[in-house]
Symmetry: C2
C-alpha cells in the first residue's frame, strides 16, 4: 500500500510550524533555524554534509526515515520559495542544482509553470489542485511507493483536515515562538482517528507518531 | 528558599489549559475531564478515593509532588468557581466541606469576600491584587514552604509573564481541543529563562519540567 506520510515536521511547543516575517533572507522568519537544530545535531545530517560526528539515537533514527520508501513529495508553495517567488521566473527553490528529494515533487500553487527538472532525479511539477487530487497524481508518480506530505504547516493542516494522512511524524521543540503559522488550528478531535505515541529524546525534543487507526 | 511552583498542570497538545463553555455543570467546558484522565489512572488518585489499583511510574511520581513542601496555594477566580460564582454568596468552591488543599489558598478575584475556613486546614482568602503582591502574601502564609501556583491557564500565564515562577511541571495530553483558554499565548522566548526537560510516559502524556536557570 502506498501511504501518505509526514516525516520530521518540526513545530514549537506552542504549535507554530514556521515563524513570522518569511522572506528570501529568512525562510522561516523570526524562527530562524531554531526548529531544526535537533536535526542538524544528528549523524545523518553530519553525513550529508560530509562531516564527522553527530548523534546516534532516537533523533537520528527518526530523521533517517525521511526518504525510505518515498517515491514522491507534495509541498506547499510556501516551502518551495519565499513569498512572491512566483513573480521570479528564475526561482528554482532553495536547494541549488541538486535538491535532496531525488523524486518527483508536486508544488501546490495557484501560479503554475512548466515542470522544472534538476539534477539527481528531482523534478518539480507545479499544480493548482485540491489535496485529494494532487495526492492521486503523486501516488501515480510514486509508482507504488509512499508519498511524503512535505509541509509547510498550512498544507499539512489541509491534508489532515481532508483525512488524507496515513502517518505523521511531528517533532515538538521546547521553545515558544509566539507567532507564525500554527499547525493544529481547526483540527479539534484529530486524536480520534489516530493511534498516537509520544517519545521524548535526550536532546529535549518530543517525537509524536500518529498512525491512522485501522477501521 | 520558598519557591513558586506549578504542579501537574495539564494542557492539550494545541496548548489549551481548559475548554470552551465553562459552567457549573461543565467546570472544564467541552474539554470535560479529558485533560485529567492520566491523573485518575495513577495509584495516588486511587488511594485518595480509597480504591485499589492505579499505575505506579512516572505519572504517579510526578503527581505525588503536588502537595510535598507546599504551604499555600494561589488560584485564579476561574478555578475557584464557575463563571458568576461571585454572585452566589453560598458558593464554597468545587471541593465540598474538606477541600484537598489543607493550607491557606489565595483566590485572585475582583469580588472580594471574607475568608472562608473549611475543614482539614483549608482557608480561602479572596484578594484583589497583582501577582507579585499576592505571592508575597502567600509566601508569608506558607511559613517558609513553597507556594503552589494553582491555575487556571490565564493566571499561570500572568505569573510566568511577570517572571514569578521558579518551577513549572506541565503535562501535555495528546488531544486537540481546538478551543478554550491557551496557556502559552504571549510567552515568546520563555525558554531563555528556564532549563527544560521533556519526558514521555507510557500513558501517552509528556511531562514538561521547567526549572528557572540560575543567574
Amino acid at each position: 500500500v502506498s501511504l501518505a506520510r509526514i516525516q520530521s515536521f518540526s513545530i514549537s511547543l506552542d504549535g507554530f510550524g514556521t515563524g513570522e516575517g518569511l522572506s528570501r533572507e529568512e525562510p522561516f522568519g523570526h524562527a530562524g533555524e531554531r526548529l531544526h537544530q535537533w536535526m542538524f545535531a544528528t549523524r545523518w545530517w553530519h553525513e550529508m554534509q560530509g562531516e564527522p560526528g553527530g548523534s546516534r539515537g532516537i533523533d537520528d533514527a527518526f530523521v533517517r526515515l525521511h526518504d525510505v520508501g518515498v517515491g514522491a513529495e507534495i509541498m506547499g508553495a510556501g516551502k518551495f520559495g519565499y513569498p512572491g517567488w512566483h513573480d521570479d521566473p528564475d526561482w528554482q527553490g532553495w536547494w541549488g542544482l541538486e535538491p535532496p528529494f531525488h523524486t518527483p515533487v508536486f508544488v501546490l500553487t495557484h501560479h503554475t509553470r512548466p515542470p522544472l527538472e534538476l539534477e539527481g532525479g528531482t523534478t518539480f511539477h507545479f499544480v493548482d489542485a485540491a489535496p485529494a487530487e494532487v495526492l492521486g497524481m503523486a501516488r501515480e508518480a510514486a509508482n507504488g511507493q509512499d508519498v511524503r506530505i512535505g509541509g509547510g504547516p498550512s498544507m499539512i493542516r489541509e491534508f489532515l483536515k481532508a483525512g488524507l494522512v496515513d502517518h505523521m511524524h511531528a517533532v515538538v521543540v521546547p521553545l515558544l515562538l509566539g507567532r507564525g503559522v500554527r499547525l493544529w488550528d481547526g483540527l479539534e478531535g484529530l486524536e480520534d482517528r489516530y493511534t498516537i505515541e509520544a517519545t521524548s529524546s535526550p536532546s529535549g525534543v518530543v517525537h509524536l507518531s500518529y498512525g491512522r487507526t485501522a477501521t
